[in-house]
């Protein structure tokens, strides 16, 4: 028995350490959230890289978006009132102009460079409510004020939907970002040290990997990149691949390339975002679309990939199947960790998902619009098939508020499946895929020993936040416990931290991946064929289920 094996796995294995990292962060965030609600401290949040409004340095400032929800028969006057109620960053007024009146929305901030941007999403599509920017910034993405076209009177009915006012550059994030880096570093370096690694080398390399992560987020937050759905995962992979496939990843940097540690810690944090009460509150039709189709497509793609295409890499088949049927990149990394996939397999699976997501975000609303499919069915269809949530909502919003809501909710329910999929895939891997043909079925102890422990952390986080912290917050502070936990713990702290861990993971994956190995994984185009066949099956089945759920069974659901 080696020294490593002789040590207690609870402190020796990286798998367990990711559970401790994740749960420590979640418990500290929960205590902070409770203190905020008790009024003992002011609200704290982990910084996210901001929007790129006029130059790259904008990303080191926060921005804040507020929605003004409009009733179905909202008049111009009521729109102004709704905006004034929704945000203090801008004032809205109805002013006389040539040929009638116009709505003017102006920033209330006087500081140089502080601008707002205004967007609308109306049931009658955008052309019913046109805005132009006054004194726009050089990039044209923010302005001191916006004015609408002229309308006959203040009583003119605009219709239902919403107006979003985004205040740009509200506060700097450099110092909070440095604090975040230091805290993550201290936590993870302690683990690296106990696991027997060189904490000093790790610290130096970690900072370099983090800088690459900041650069990835910065590129991803360029508005055109955001509009096309090219997010931090794509930029992080690209930057990592650029280094590893040209000059080669330097030896000193490899000390900070800890893909599994970042992914698994991020996944434990993700567990806290899966709140079971949400499933019950949003109705059956979405559940039918998301939960009936997903396992069917997953199993179909697994069988197709392994039995028909006879793909050599089983983890790659499962990664592509999970990404297609569940929720794209998040599901891909969860399944990759559960199946102990190679970095190159994950890179290929994620790369394909990212490309097809952009294509589907553009072509699905086009098709739905051209064919004239009902917006609710169209929304459910896109929610169940487009891989990433951001692209789903962007595609849904193009068809209108109803399609956006249905698409987002169906995707959300599908997102929640990630825990179940990760758990059962890990179990399936141990009991079936990794088992030798003539070996007996593994017993419970063997399953436990080989079971990926980060999934235990993931499930524990989800159960804790769903059944302990949410009810506890409701009891202590009154109101909806789920909303309280989301607004004080998840959105401000654990969610952005999870984003940082995932971004570090994608930089690391890129730094460890290699084009030659990637080319080998292509197996003559079989992964691509698997994705296309599986996604086609997904499209047909989801459309059918959307029709059954929202037309035949629950026609008045939305």
């Amino acid at each position: 028995m080696t020294d490593e094996e002789a040590r207690n796995p609870l402190v020796a294995s990286e798998d367990w350490w990711t559970v401790w990292f994740g749960l420590t962060i979640l418990l500290v965030a929960t205590v902070l959230g409770a203190l905020v609600l008790a009024g003992a401290i002011s609200a704290k949040s982990v910084p996210k890289i901001g929007r790129w409004a006029s130059n790259p340095l904008d990303v080191f400032y926060r921005s804040s978006a507020r929605d003004a929800e409009l009733a179905d028969d909202a008049t111009l006057e009521q729109v102004a009132a709704a905006i004034n109620d929704a945000t203090s960053a801008a004032t809205a007024s109805v002013e006389p102009t040539d040929g009638g009146v116009r709505l003017r929305i102006a920033t209330t901030r006087d500081g140089a460079g502080e601008t707002i941007s205004v967007g609308t999403l109306l049931a009658q599509r955008d052309n019913a409510f046109e805005f132009s920017a006054e004194q726009p910034d050089p990039a044209g993405l923010g302005a001191r004020a916006y004015v609408s076209r002229a309308y006959p009177s203040a009583d003119f009915v605009i219709g239902g939907g919403r107006v979003t006012v985004t205040a740009q550059r509200t506060a700097g994030i450099v110092l909070p970002l440095v604090v975040t880096v230091v805290l993550i570093l201290l936590l993870t370096a302690a683990g690296v040290h106990v696991m027997g690694g060189d904490a000093k080398k790790y610290a130096v390399a970690f900072v370099a990997v983090f800088v690459l992560a900041v650069l990835s987020y910065t590129l991803a937050n360029y508005p055109v990149s955001r509009a096309y759905g090219i997010g931090y995962a794509a930029w992080a992979l690209a930057l990592g691949l650029l280094i590893s496939n040209t000059i080669g990843t330097p030896e000193w940097l490899m000390a900070g390339v800890r893909t599994e540690m970042y992914i698994k810690t991020g996944l434990v944090l993700l567990g806290a975002e899966i709140l079971f009460a949400k499933i019950l509150s949003i109705g059956v039709p979405g559940l039918l679309v998301a939960w009936v189709v997903t396992p069917v497509v997953l199993i179909f793609m697994w069988l197709f990939g392994t039995r028909i295409l006879k793909m050599v890499s089983k983890p790659l088949v499962m990664i592509i199947a999970a990404a297609t049927s569940v929720c794209g990149v998040s599901a891909a990394i969860a399944v990759a960790a559960a199946t102990r996939a190679k970095k190159d397999e994950l890179t290929l699976g994620v790369g394909m998902t990212l490309i097809f997501t952009v294509l589907m975000m553009i072509f699905m609303p086009m098709f739905i619009d051209a064919v004239g499919i009902d917006d609710v069915i169209g929304g459910a269809w896109m929610g169940g098939t487009i891989d990433s949530t951001g692209a789903v909502v962007a595609a849904g919003a193009f068809l209108g508020p109803r399609a956006e809501s249905v698409a987002a909710v169906v995707k959300m329910i599908q997102n929640i499946l990630i825990g179940f999929v990760g758990f059962f895939v890990a179990l399936f891997w141990i009991t079936s895929v990794e088992r030798q043909p003539d070996a007996p079925r593994p017993g419970l102890i063997e399953i436990w020993v080989r079971f990926p422990k980060f999934i235990v952390g993931f499930v524990a986080a989800s159960v804790l936040f769903s059944f302990v912290f949410s009810p506890l917050f409701a009891l202590l502070f009154g109101g909806n416990g789920v909303s309280l936990v989301e607004s004080t713990v998840i959105r401000p702290v654990t969610n952005p931290l999870r984003g940082w861990f995932f971004c570090l993971a994608f930089v690391s994956i890129g730094l460890e991946s290699n084009f030659v190995e990637l080319a080998k994984q292509m197996e003559g185009g079989k992964p691509m064929l698997l994705y296309i066949i599986g996604q086609s099956f997904n499209l047909v089945l989801t459309l059918l289920m959307a029709y059954v759920a929202f037309v035949l069974l629950f026609p008045n659901a939305v």
Partner: protein, 85 residues
Amino acid sequence: MTGERISERQDPGAKGRRVAPGRRWLRFALGVSILAGFFWFLTTRPTPPGVAGQIIERNLRQDVDATALFFTELERMPAIEERFR
């Protein structure tokens, strides 16, 4: 996950072959140029024709973040959930 450590390779881009340092930096410069070229292309705000272009234009005007990986990353998700209840 498992995988070969890049540092063990003689040539990260083509395993098993030695490549002169100058050539590696040349490759790096080429890679940076490709990424920079792609980013420059994005700065021209390219929009495909027809409805596809309208979707991208709309995302730009509305400052829509189409990159969110998970529903909790969407700023307006609480409002959407509320509307659906």
